[in-house]
Symmetry: C2
Subunit: 423 residues, 2 copies
């Protein structure tokens, strides 16, 4: 194995995509292109790790500088992502060995894996198996998740932009309901993502700055749902303000751990019902209180909303990509560039390395002190944490009324292995 | 009655609000403030016509120029709107008489009613009853509706911004699904507004410019839903492109006229089910084809999305407000300023008066030639019509990461009538 000659790099996206994951790709690629002495060609896995396993690689080095630059303002996964978790080493060693085989065939010495908790675990295992098989690969994790649930980083790239989108959507939707409430809709429910962590729901809380301003109720996965208390609060809001705005996390649960959404999927007769937690909550309000309601489910729109991305988020996404390559060429290994906040007002942050072993498979939830005593709102501490993350706008270029997003074809790298791999 | 002295003006918002209805208010108010010789004080009905009937008026003349200017970039109804249709003259003459009584008490000689079809009808009736009761009021309709279903105007203020939001959301959501489709979600369904007219659904079609680009299927209210043909098309898309993006109008119907959404509200046992047409369609796909799906319901978010309003739409909304006052002071009566397109490429338009009698209670649907032969897409003619309407961005000012929208308290006008009016 050559040690002094440049070796190639592989970049792969993993899990649910975000509005700024391509900005991280941009940071990785632009920085790697400058590291000519250490890094040769830059490849990307088509559809993430699946492309790596099946030797379906894209030659990123073949793209123009303008194309690489356009990644910065393009949402979703430009190279394709995958929901594909490598099993434990004991359960499926073949997958790891195959990866190393592909790496060897293409002289890949650097692996940048852009994902969430699971992916940090995978990156760690790849680095371990590479060492065991006598093919050392520099593995660096690049953090990404709209859920903001990675530990050891102040926030996760992707989250700030969803937070901004949800805060703005809550603000706008609330103005709509407020203007119609006297004769029409009184309760508006917005369902947001976040799985088991209520960070995105908390961001909805940024829409209201003064007491009584919407959203009036936030339902967090961290706070067991109390139906009676919730309905009483809805009623109180309609009485006091004329209307009520509710932001509900898809992960909201009853005290017994059942998801509210799950409860809505079957009725007493076992019939499948439609809809997520948004309509479930709205229907609950209608049945108990009879108010006219509307509900929205932002779904993918929230995590793909590059048109209203947070400037801070775009910068951080780029910065972790850039730092990943800088760490790699410095000889660092099995780390993830994390965001460290050094000041909230004014907001200051820097990038620091964190061992992958510390990040893998840990989930960071919204701490209790970020949620008001009644469980329905965010505290000033939470607001202080969240506000800097949605700061600034970073508008994409437009053409004919629509954002000019990159649609990357991607030049395939010629296959070198004779064996196919079935995923 | 004084004829040469200035008389006061009343402005009222009606029906579902939009991202730019306040831009029309801004046009009305700024223009009226300049018409000092004809127009005295400018009032707004709090919650639209309900405020007029209950003598709950806001003194807009008391607001600062900066506040009036901020209306232009603030979504929803700053003065409040109402879903309150005045009954026919024969059925409820008392309401019209009450209106005239309030007008008389406040020397209101100009009535600007900002709404859709129903409101144009109301404005017309008010002008007729005023004349009958010997209290002539200059009634001008100001068009507004996200549904774009008013006749005799090329488009309706409010529509362009929803169209832009839905086109962008479709584009962004589609990029998300495309990047995940190999191992995850294959079908994404976006439910949009529009009632019986498919204009907003058609706007989703702008997201794709080339053959095969999403959205792959649009379900219009104008085209009776054929389940088998729809499912076959979904399957074909997943086979050909790896995924399928569907935009469905809330008004999509079966050939017998039943709404798809309605069909989903009760099961065979009469149990209420949750959700709109989006989840109904997504569930249909899952049951028949088994694909993993996601669905989004934009609901109020789409019509309140001032953060990504169409510049053309904002300009037209302001222009119809301005023209309404210009018509009024010129002595025109019972008309609505309409938008007339004089050229599509380059896009040119002007404002022309249309008699309220021609507009009232007529609904303009998407013509058949705007929809492809298979019923699932938009034609080049439709694209030519829609594209100019989403052109340009008109970003609101931001503060701390959020748009700085106006929250108008509104100085109440002192009541002059002794009688209350119960709505």
């Amino acid at each position: 194995m050559k040690t002094s000659a440049p070796r190639n790099a592989l970049y792969a996206q993993s899990g649910g995509v975000t509005a700024v994951i391509n900005a991280s790709a941009c940071g990785v690629i632009e920085t790697a292109l400058k590291a000519r002495r250490q890094i040769g060609r830059i490849y990307a896995g088509r559809d993430g790790i699946v492309g790596a396993l099946t030797e379906d690689l894209i030659d990123v080095s073949a793209e123009s500088a303008a194309t690489i630059r356009a990644l910065r303002h393009t949402p979703a996964g430009a190279f394709g992502s995958a929901r594909f978790k490598l099993k434990g080493l004991d359960k499926n060693r073949a997958e790891y060995e195959r990866l190393i085989e592909v790496f060897k065939a293409h002289d890949i010495g650097y692996f940048f894996y852009n994902g969430g908790n699971d992916s940090m675990d995978t990156a760690l295992k790849v680095s371990q198996i590479g060492a065991q098989l006598g093919y050392p690969v520099t593995c660096i994790g690049v953090p990404k998740t709209v859920d903001n649930d990675l530990p050891h980083t102040d926030c996760c790239p992707g989250f700030g932009s969803v937070a901004k989108y949800i805060a703005i959507s809550t603000l706008e939707g609330a103005l709509d309901v407020a203007s119609m409430a006297r004769t029409s809709t009184k309760v508006f429910v917005l369902e947001v993502m976040g799985r088991h962590a209520g960070w995105i729901a908390a961001a909805g809380g940024l829409a209201g700055r003064k007491a009584g301003e919407p959203p009036h109720i936030i339902l967090f996965p961290e706070i067991p749902f109390q139906k009676e208390a919730f309905l009483a609060r809805v009623k109180q809001c309609v009485t006091d303000y004329g209307y009520c705005v509710v932001v509900v996390s898809e992960g909201a649960k009853y005290p017994d751990g059942t998801f509210l959404a799950e409860a809505g999927t079957k009725d007493a007769f076992g019939h499948t019902q439609l809809g997520g937690v948004g309509p479930v909550v709205a229907n609950m309000v209608r049945e108990a209180l009879g108010y006219k309601y509307h509900w929205a489910v932002a779904d993918y729109l929230q995590r793909a909303a590059r048109h209203i991305a947070s400037k801070v988020d775009v910068e951080q996404a780029y910065a972790v990509g850039k730092a990943a390559v800088e760490y790699a060429v410095k000889g660092m290994h099995a780390v993830m560039p994390a965001i460290k906040r050094t000041s909230s007002k004014p907001y200051r942050w820097k990038i620091v390395p964190v061992p992958l072993a510390d990040v893998a498979n840990v989930e960071k939830k919204v701490p209790r002190e970020f949620i008001t005593a009644d469980g329905f709102g965010i505290t000033p501490t939470c607001r202080r944490y969240l506000e800097p993350l949605i700061a600034g706008e970073d508008y994409p270029p437009y053409e004919g009324g629509l954002p000019k997003y990159l649609r990357l074809k991607g030049k395939p790298v010629r296959r070198r292995l004779k064996t196919a791999f079935k995923i």
